[in-house]
């Protein structure tokens, strides 16, 4: 099939094949008074050059974080990504199928998957990682489905209100259709209190740390709470925060998951993300998606295989662990290259930069009259909630229009009662000058 417009000869051949004399003859089954008469009111075709100018003018109406200082996060974050990442993922060696169906033919791709899994296990403190799933929300849903397979008698799950609303939306869709009850654990002062949760019918307790408001949860206590009624503890975590925070696996998490988009990927137009999932070895047979494993070939040489294909959908059909038998390979590859470029020390340093910049910004904003940190008693990593004297939506409008700054997330969009709450993300790509400019702009907005 070619994509060139039909020629007169093409049309004549097609009409002849179906026995019509002309296009009008073909349309004759449609009553005449239902057919459009006359010329369509469409601009004449543009030349390629004019079309490019037209499209660029349209595109330039977008406001891009590439052109403006941005403090917008709420689940999608900018971090520095060396040009080498783009360069390396473009190498022809990676131009094979993103998820090979004859996997062992692609030893290079499988090796990068094994590296990704090893890095994610180190980062989360867990024993086994899969090759990735679609995005952070999918990773949380698949983690819950895994917990339900491990606890087949469970009829509910507990989900913290600090889990990102988009993730909770995905969970609602899946659980509603499975007849699994979702028990929401409400927040107190921005964090999930572990004391009140007691849900013996639950397969899992799901929480996010840092949570959607930026607050670092008490991961250890929440894991203990889950274990007290024999539920699994599922922690969704921004992997960048694990550069400094204790790996959840060291304080009791059974499944650690989330979106690795911030590592070597970009917010782009809201995706693509790359979901990661790490678990304990004792639960590995209920883990969905692909897992690369190391073995030796017939001659005793090191080789990499897809270890759990026997449980995937194309082999196991309806009894597969998941309908996912793929991975977000290109994005996971970017994250893997990014991590290897930063190295262990570089990754910790990046974490410290995020921490110090966000705390500098928080201190300066909270010192402004009328502004304060909403939950100063809690720790945060790179994002924090501020109580503002004006509605956050209004602040954002003035900041962009008058100062060319993309402000934080207006939490009123999540919940109307939070109209004067502003979620501000400050990462390694926000310079001190940008932060000072933001503070100076806020001083002028009354």
């Amino acid at each position: 099939m070619n994509y060139v417009q039909n020629t007169d000869a093409d049309r004549a051949a097609m009409l002849a094949a179906i026995g019509a004399d002309s296009i009008d003859d073909l349309m004759a089954v449609i009553p005449e008074d239902c057919r459009f008469q006359g010329e369509l009111d469409v601009e004449p075709a543009l030349t390629e050059d004019a079309l490019l100018r037209e499209m660029k003018a349209l595109a330039d109406r977008n406001v891009s974080a590439d052109d403006h200082p941005s403090f917008l996060g709420a689940g999608s974050y900018r971090h520095f990504c060396p040009a080498l990442v783009d360069n390396l993922v473009s190498r022809t060696e990676y131009w094979t199928a993103y998820t090979p169906y004859q996997p062992e033919a692609s030893q290079g791709t499988l090796t990068t998957i094994l590296e990704w899994q090893s890095m994610m296990c180190r980062l989360t403190g867990m024993e086994v990682s899969n090759a990735s799933v679609y995005d952070g929300a999918t990773a949380v849903v698949e983690s819950v489905l895994m917990a339900l397979r491990l606890k087949p008698k469970a009829t509910s799950i507990v989900v913290s209100a600090g889990v990102h609303p988009d993730t909770r939306g995905a969970l609602n869709t899946y659980m509603g259709n499975l007849g699994i009850r979702i028990v929401e654990a409400p927040l107190e002062n921005g964090a999930t209190p572990s004391g009140h949760i007691n849900e013996p019918d639950a397969a899992a307790v799901v929480f996010q740390s840092p949570n959607v408001f930026g607050v670092i949860e008490d991961v250890e206590s929440l894991c203990q709470t889950a274990h007290a009624f024999e539920a699994l503890a599922i922690v969704s975590a921004d992997p960048i925060s694990l550069s400094l925070l204790t790996p959840p696996g060291e304080v009791g998490a059974d499944i650690v998951c989330g979106d690795a988009n911030p590592m070597g990927n970009k917010p782009w137009f809201g995706g693509p993300g790359v979901g990661y999932m790490c678990a304990r070895m004792e639960h590995v047979r209920q883990m969905p998606a692909r897992i690369a494993g190391e073995t030796v070939d017939a001659d005793g040489r090191r080789a990499v295989v897809l270890t759990f294909q026997t449980r995937e959908q194309h082999i196991r059909r309806a009894k597969a662990t998941s309908n996912i038998c793929t991975s977000q390979q290109l994005m996971a590859l970017r994250a893997t290259i990014w991590m290897s470029l930063l190295g262990k020390e570089g990754f910790h340093e990046l974490g410290r930069t995020n921490l110090s910049r966000s705390h500098y910004a928080a201190g300066r904003i909270a010192a402004l009259p009328g502004y304060e940190l909403t939950w100063p008693e809690h720790s945060f990593f790179k994002e924090f909630t501020v109580s503002t004297p004006l509605p956050a939506g209004k602040l954002n409008k003035v900041l962009l229009k008058k100062h060319g700054i993309i402000g934080g997330y207006d939490l009123g969009r999540m919940d109307k009662s939070l109209a004067n709450r502003w979620l501000v993300a400050v990462t390694d790509v926000n310079t001190k000058d940008e932060i000072d400019a933001l503070v100076a702009a806020l001083e002028t907005i009354r």
Binding site: R285, T310, R311, I315, R316, K319
Partner: protein, 126 residues
């Protein structure tokens, strides 16, 4: 080589009845077809078993297969010793390779085969 005092199923399980307890395993033909076994998932004592429904799974390097219960009853004992030595299922499928012991509720379901009919089934599918 298949013992003649056992009952057999279409899905290659065997049943040995002793009083009201049935011992269940997979046949030599099934073990041979699966080849190298890597994992066995068995129920626990006290779990209910329903005839025709899965009571566990057995995984080889080739595939994961369900273990189908030929009887109704309650698990008395699962052969957990197999977990560290799955090759026993291949080497001694009718002896040390047994999978579960079940206290029967009601009698044996209909449709179980004797050794001659089972061997005919295997020969037909060969």
């Amino acid at each position: 080589m298949n013992p003649n005092d056992l009952k057999y199923t279409m899905t290659h399980e065997w049943i040995r009845v002793d009083g009201d307890v049935a011992t269940i395993g997979i046949t030599a033909h099934a073990a041979e077809s699966l080849s190298d076994l890597v994992y066995l998932g068995l129920p626990s004592a006290g779990d209910e078993m329903t005839a025709g429904e899965s009571f566990g799974e057995i995984e080889s390097v080739k595939a994961v297969s369900d273990l189908n219960s030929p009887v109704n009853g309650e698990v008395v004992e699962a052969n957990t010793a197999l977990e560290d030595n799955l090759a026993t299922i291949n080497s001694d499928p009718y002896g040390e390779g047994w999978l579960v012991k079940v206290k029967l509720s009601g009698g044996l379901p209909e449709g179980l085969m004797d050794v001659d009919n089972y061997e005919k089934l295997v020969a037909e599918n060969a």
